[in-house]
Symmetry: C2
Subunit: 331 residues, 2 copies
Amino acid sequence: MRIAVDAMGSDRAPTIEVEGAVGALLDRPDLTVVLVGDREVVEAELARHPQADRARMEVVHAPEVIDPGEAPTTAVRRKPNSSIVVGTRLVKSGEADAFLSAGSTGAVMAAAVLMLRPIPGVDRPAVGSPVPSATGTFFLIDMGANVDTRPQHLLQFAHLGTIYCQDLLGVDDPRVGLLNIGTEPGKGNEQTLETYGLLSESPTLNFVGNVEGRDVIRGACDVLVCDGFVGNVLLKFYESIAGFMAEELRHEMEQQGVKLDLKRLYSRLDYSTYGGAPLLGVNGVVVIAHGGSPPQAIRNGIGVAARSVERRMVEHIAKRLGDPAETGEKR
Amino acid sequence: MRIAVDAMGSDRAPTIEVEGAVGALLDRPDLTVVLVGDREVVEAELARHPQADRARMEVVHAPEVIDPGEAPTTAVRRKPNSSIVVGTRLVKSGEADAFLSAGSTGAVMAAAVLMLRPIPGVDRPAVGSPVPSATGTFFLIDMGANVDTRPQHLLQFAHLGTIYCQDLLGVDDPRVGLLNIGTEPGKGNEQTLETYGLLSESPTLNFVGNVEGRDVIRGACDVLVCDGFVGNVLLKFYESIAGFMAEELRHEMEQQGVKLDLKRLYSRLDYSTYGGAPLLGVNGVVVIAHGGSPPQAIRNGIGVAARSVERRMVEHIAKRLGDPAETGEKR
């Protein structure tokens, strides 16, 4: 299996990407990593890993870089030799089975939609993220790629999340929850009220109803469906909590002269280590990693990409969403 | 000063309310508390506080109770003798200077809007909440009373929050932030994009720009403006975090055989102890407390109500929002 990795995407590129890729090769003997980026820079970084299995590491030259501040679609059109566009092209041509990038989420998404195209039946590809809860992990979709979504989009997100949970997280019949401001069916805004109806009527989804903000962390569902605006706010807030708590706890420990090792707890709560957010609903496996990812997150993200290919997730999405008979829903 | 308190609202009514009211009298010698509820039940509870200053405690009989599950407007119309309606009526008639309730937020809001009426210039009264951050407290508005808000509503929330911060939290020129999915002006959904323009153009607001989910906790602004849907999700999520962290930390402490006293930290993070969320934009002071409030929250909430009266907050809102020349904005 060949996974293309954007070597120029993260805040500390290409150090993080190369170290993550070297680690990923140790996890899977069937893996080849194709590092996409400025050849000279990437080779220099690779030279720092003499123990790496170079027979399973290739470099594809991509001299341009898309900055996070650039308008995604314009940048993708104007920079055909950027690492994001070249990596996506490798998937389209079949030279790679999947692509991982820690670069601009908007640009990765734009490249995927423009070049790989959405799967028929998917109006808006979405980005999901596994999030740690008290009982394990739930899958939040969408985490910011889509705002101003219509109820029909949220229904599709529910199916995309369900397939991801089945294929990647090993959950047979994932419980789908709708993020809302009350548990009763009549609660919500216009968007969630109508979405509640669509989710309830679906004969194939395991819809468990509305999930309030306070029930998110206790693991009330396996797939948490929401508009990308609120998903983004929630995830970024969650992300900042671990650091905030660390500060507060350090202060308490100092005051009380007590030492507690919190490394394990923080790594469990830090969702950036979970290894990347899959972009679901395009014709190809694309995984988006956090710009501030540590090497372990890149390594895990490559594993997520490899398993997505192995489990034939894209095929499952196409089968389920491409045929109204499969979901049993009126369109 | 006379503050009416709904004695039947909280999950453990009237125990919590009576204990909170008894405490509030100790905080302010100028205070009289009017307990509104079933007289027999309230008197029985009062009998358990023989040390209380009964000269400053009155009971107004209200035999009906509105349940949190009832449709707010219907319940307010059908239950004229409910504690919520009677308490609100005391404010309207001038027999009380303010009203606090830990009952159904929707019903308290419906009663206030129907009976006290919105202040001219306020299209939608909103509920705000002080929220603990790394640097102190910020004021989130709206926390769930209004969904599907228009940009003009969010602009009004910014003014309401600014006045609250000035009058109650002692912040001279409160920094107003707009909760959004990116810091750049071009980020957001349709609602926040347009709101950004309105807030930027206001000559009277101290608008500091977009605030992302990750910057909320570090105290990026004094007033955080958002639609009630996302505000509600965020607050309820925050609310659940302290409990979740307590569980996780207990586990770590057990494993490591270390004891850390976290009472102080948790009470700082638990926003329910902050004493209630003011309903802003109606002709009267109304404070909504959490249904699960401890007595200290009721006590603090009565203090918030008293200070709102003392600082003439309603008058300031009417002056600023009633006259376009005051905000300097085009309407």
